[in-house]
Structures are given as C-alpha cells and as structure tokens.
Symmetry: C2
Subunit: 228 residues, 2 copies
C-alpha cells in the first residue's frame, strides 16, 4: 500500500465488511499511531522500532501493520504535510521575479520552518524510493530548487560553485542547533541562514576565492537529531 | 571529589588498605567505565542514566559511584582530553602574529576535530560549574577565544557584530552534520567552516549589511546529537 493512498482515509483493509461499527475505532487508532509516530520520530530519530510505536500508541503490532504495512509507509505519511510545505515554498520562490530573491526565500523559510519542526529537513533530506507518491512530490521539490539555483547562478547573483549538497549541509547544520526555547532556536536559525546567504553571494565570492570541495551528503545518511 | 583529582589515578576510596590486591581491579573497572561512558555519551547524549553506564561497563552501580560520585564527575573526566585539545588550539591561535589567522585556525581546527569526535564541541559548549578543575580549563579556553576575537576585531579583519554565541552556533551547526563516512563528515565540516569564515570577514560585512540579532545559546542547552 503506497503511503499516498493510505494518507487520505482509512484503508479498506482497516474495516471488515462484516464489522462496519469498527470504522470509527480504526480511524481513531490511525490518528493515534500518526501522532505517536510523529512524536517518537522527533524525539528519537527515524529508526524507532515499529514495536515501540505500537506500544506508545496503545495499539497492537498487528493493528499498526494493518494501517502501515512498512516503516516507510508510516514515515512518509507522518511527513506528508512537511513535504507539501517544502514544495509550496519552492513553488512560491520560483514565482519571484528575481531568482536570487527566490533562492534567499527558500533558505530563510526552510531554516525557520525547520527550527519550529524538524520534520521539514527530514522530509526534504530523506529519500524513500518505494513510497511513490511521496517520492514524486520529493523529486518535484528537488527539481524546483535545482531550477531556482540555476536561474540564480545565470543572473550572476549566486556563486557558481554553490552545490546541491550545500542545501543539505545547511539543513543539517540547522538541525544541529539546540536552544532553550523556540524563540532562541528560530533566532539562531535566522542568523545561521543570514551568515550562509552572505557566503553564497557571487559578488563576494570574487573576493573570497574558491571553497573547499562539496561533501558527499547522500540523503540516506540522515540520522535525525533530537528536536530542541 | 572534583573530576580533576579523580582523573589521574584511582582514588584512595577505590582500594581498601586491607585489600591491596584489588588495586588492579579498580584500575581496570575505572578504565572500562570511562570507555563505556565515552561510547554511550557519543551515541545517546549526555543524559544517559548512570545505571546504564554501569550495566554496559559490566560493573555494579556501587562500583561506578565509588569511582565517579556524580554524573558530572564522569562526564568531565571523559571529556578532559578534548577540553585540553581545545585550549591548546586557542593557545596556538593566540600565538599567531595576525589575530585573524588565529581566529580562522580556531574555527577550522575545531570544526575538523569535532567532525572526528563530537566530544570536542561537548567539552567546549557544556558548562560544569561544580567540576572546578574542568571549569578552570574551560574558562581559560573561553577567555582565550574572547581575547582572540577582540584582537581580530581591533585589526579590522573580523566583523564587529561577531558575537560570542556565533562560536556556539557554528559548533552546534557542525554537530548537525551527518555523513556516511568520516571523510565525508570532515569534508562537510571544512566547507561549512569556510562558508562561515567568509561571512565573518569585516571587509565583506560592509557590503552585506547587519546580521539578524545573535541567538541566546546558553551552554546548558546542549543535548548532544548522536555522532555520524
């Protein structure tokens, strides 16, 4: 069962045709599982055992697997909203008349969104090749950002050696911020975004010289640090 | 018992005068506890329960507490080497003829050391006011860095609005990097350090305008993300 089809309504597998009264229970369980999964992934990372999710949600393991046959199905459903928000940010940025303004907006917005909810970087950085609906949206966001980067380079505002991995680097760096309050985390994210945006400017790159080579930061290497 | 006095040799509390043959055992246990604490802090953060350290080290809780009466005593002993390395980096930087070169070296070296071992940022960012020896060294490193920052500002190379919290921000950002290999983690740390060093340059700050205000990143707010 692909994540996309399970996201909108309880699957027919949840409810036996001979037991229509259990539909509300199934919906309730599904909500509890998603809520629990979201909290556990935030606190302990993406590799929380499915059994732990079931235990914390107060449902049996069989019930969990009936709703989400794989961990990937659960994760992609949990992160569907965050990914949708990412693609919206990229779409809005592509509509900006000046591509550099669009690029700047993506960096600033993603950093702040991620300070408020680590699910954003998880959704953007993690690849789930088997979750087709999720992956389609993911690829759309990635391609949109790549288009924006190329346009910002073409107008001479973004330094030519900006690498795709620099967005991963920035989101990972943002993930590392821990602060005592949401306000402090957002302030720190804003400052980090501003500092890095300065470094990405082509007009300053002329004076700073080349960067060390980009790092290979594959999406699969995302242990997800705990939220602050 | 302050951490510093327990660091160098097994405390006399380890060995009863009537049981001199147990000295080697005590030393062996102490080594196992330190090794285990180091691994657990790296994997799960600084708030690992003492009971978990004892269990993984294969010693009783009473033995653990005989060697390290508090969690703070254990943590500061585990991190003593990293903190000493931090102060050496700062001392070397202060000896550079150009303070900006010294500042740059601190940022670059700390980022790479931290990519290899997360204990460096933990040692530098975490305050342990009750561990007097550790704290004395910690304050020395902090003050040395503050002197370096002031000198680099005075020579007009470091932007005037560089804030003490920007070093915390940089180390936290560095902590967020996760990569599939040590080489990739070091490469990513080098690139992040280079990008941020560009942003810290006073001559470019004239063209970028002011930064968003610094964030309040208190040392006590350091949940320590897992190593890559």
């Amino acid at each position: 069962m692909p994540a996309g089809s399970s996201r909108m309504k309880p699957s027919s597998a949840d409810v036996s045709p001979r037991e229509p009264g259990r539909r509300a229970d199934a919906r309730h369980n599904r909500g509890r599982i998603l809520e629990t999964g979201r909290a556990l992934f935030a606190a302990r990372g993406l590799d929380v055992p499915m059994a732990a999710v079931a235990r914390h949600a107060g449902v049996g393991v069989a019930t969990l697997y009936r709703h989400f046959p794989t961990r990937e199905a659960l994760i992609t459903t949990v992160f569907a909203d965050q990914l949708a928000a990412c693609t919206t940010v990229v779409d809005d940025a592509l509509a900006e008349p000046d591509p550099w303004d669009g690029f700047r907006l993506v960096i600033e917005k993603m950093c702040v969104m991620n300070a408020l909810d680590r699910g954003f970087s998880a959704a953007f950085l993690t690849a789930f090749p088997d979750a087709t609906d999720f992956e389609r949206e993911h690829v759309r966001a990635e391609r949109g950002f790549a288009t924006l980067v190329q346009r910002a380079k073409d107008t001479g505002r973004l330094r030519a050696d900006f690498d795709r991995s620099d967005l991963s680097l920035l989101l990972m760096a943002n993930n590392g911020i821990t602060a005592g309050s949401t306000e402090a985390a957002v302030a720190a994210s804003r400052r980090l975004a501003a500092l890095l945006l300065h470094s990405f400017r082509a007009d300053l790159a002329d004076r700073t010289g080349p960067l060390p080579p980009p790092a290979r930061l594959a999406p699969s290497h995302l242990p997800w640090p705990p939220a602050s």
